[in-house]
Symmetry: C2
Subunit: 322 residues, 2 copies
């Protein structure tokens, strides 16, 4: 292969991480630049191109790079655009459609592809991770929100408008559900994200007077990590919080099985650090809620990508397809 | 095109309908044979081949036929098999995997493809119907049960095991839900099928003493058609039954949008004869329950295929792909 490498870029609100990646998923070299020091996307793209070129040329050569894959908020894969985002200083306050791939490609003279973070994670898992060889699986990212990337017959499911895979926003609680950041109520994300776990903790503490290590923490600053640590010390209430969370997530996964009949779910992100506390109720609930034909047949796996590399790897996976 | 026609076959528990179809979706000639007069699938396949050959050769020629598409219960598209069905006398009482496509193809010397009824309906709609030109849409069949065929990027979504698209069995009522034929409780199908509508009617009549034309019918024999006729005569309770049904169906569709972001839903089957009584609450509820980005953007359409031809057309659509 005369072009053995790809570049993966993860654009976030504060920084953009850049890595050079080989076909086995080794991040050969990486760097980061700030992403919030300009309100002009052209300036940011120029800075990004400079940083990529500098990084690659230090020990490798741009002529060895096959293409560039980018994970970014509000990215539209079909159009290569970043659309109406409020999370980036150069996003035009939600009122701009940025032809990101085209502009960057013009400068850096390489194919550039964009997708959102959860889709990138799914591609990363299929290309380098625990889903290697799978053609049908669903990636669920359990971080501040709940994201998803759906692989169908070896390809990402983008849907009519490239916005498919918003599984964090299926409705799990149809009456008096929690308000979600998306404006709806009762969304999966409002319960099964890291912030959802913290909300559950506060609710459970408020509505009972049971003993719990979590009472030593001011309610408003309880995090999902605190809940994990308490569970780890045998705290019953903390364990129940994970049971509640995992049971709901498993029920949601059962509905997703009815949709696309995946071989596996791959769970990724902060909450997965809670290990069996979350995995066990997820698997139990999934198998209680699927149609009989699928009982005990759908794998639920944790991602095997190193969390620090995963965003770069996921984005880079896009570039093998150019 | 030297092979301008395809054969579509719809295998049901009592009869198998056979039609010769052109590329515009005209059923040129059709017939039917009984499907429950033998317990030996080889006999049935032989009878079917004879009937196809006889039908085609009357006015056309087998040499003009490109291939054969079949819609059948428990059909596995990947393997061309009918698996473990209890709905066919020659199905081995649910304990047989029948290599249907292979056996039939051997006799009739043409490619044979199988899929289930709802998938066939989706293909029919994409090939000849209201979804022509669409690459992402979801077919929902509202008959005795609730079936679905999901088109993603121009292809049927089959999933890991060819069983994807069981949207009638997502859980809509998580507590004290109705028992569904699949063994689960709270499934969409238990509420939004024709039989679900009849159940809702009985429940509403039992739990109130409101006036209704439906009280003139013995409860156990109320059908969805009765409810439609009552609604048509201005019966308030009957209209509420459709509101309840459509509202739940719309909420389910909103979750499906989060999954695959379709351009449209196509509704098919007995319940669609109720027209606006069902369509209006579906559309209202869909738009109330989707994420803001999709509000008022997803079409909900009734199938335009003639109901008497639809099963043959759907099955025949499979054969253009051979």
């Amino acid at each position: 292969m005369d072009k053995p490498y790809v570049v993966g870029i993860d654009i976030g609100g504060q920084t953009a991480k850049i890595g050079l990646v080989d076909a086995r998923g080794n991040v050969l070299t990486q760097t980061a630049i700030v992403s919030n020091d300009t309100d002009d996307y052209k300036v940011f793209i120029k800075n990004l191109c400079d940083a990529v070129t500098k990084l690659v040329n230090k020990e490798y050569s741009m002529s060895q790079v096959r293409g560039i894959g980018i994970g970014a908020p509000n990215a539209n894969f079909y159009k290569g655009t970043i659309e109406n985002t409020v999370n980036l200083t150069w996003g035009g306050n939600g009122k701009l459609i940025i032809p990101f791939a085209e502009e960057m490609s013009k400068i850096i003279k390489l194919p550039v592809k964009l997708t959102n973070d959860a889709n990138a994670a799914a591609l990363g898992e299929m290309t380098y991770g625990v889903a290697r060889g799978m053609k049908d699986f669903i990636m669920i990212t359990l971080g501040t929100g709940v994201g998803s990337g759906i692989i169908v017959n070896g390809n990402l499911l983008y849907g009519h408008d490239a916005n498919a895979g918003e599984l964090g926003h299926v409705t799990m609680v149809r009456q008096n559900g929690r308000l979600c950041g998306c404006g709806k109520t009762g969304c999966l994300e409002a319960y099964c994200s890291a912030t959802g776990v913290a909300r559950t903790a506060r609710e459970m503490l408020e509505t009972s007077d049971r003993k719990s290590l979590l009472r030593n923490i001011p309610p408003e600053s309880i995090s999902s990590k605190d809940v994990f640590e308490a569970a780890n010390q045998g705290d019953e209430l903390a364990k129940e919080i994970f049971d509640f969370t995992g049971t709901m997530l498993g029920a949601a996964l059962a509905d997703f099985v009815a949709f696309s009949s995946p071989e596996a779910f791959v769970l990724f992100g902060g909450l997965t650090r809670s290990g069996d506390f979350i995995m066990k109720p997820v698997v139990d609930s999934l198998n209680r809620n699927v149609m009989p034909r699928w009982k005990n047949k759908i794998k639920v796996l944790f991602s095997q990508l190193k969390e620090s590399d995963a965003a770069i790897l996921g984005a880079s996976a896009l570039a093998w397809e150019v």
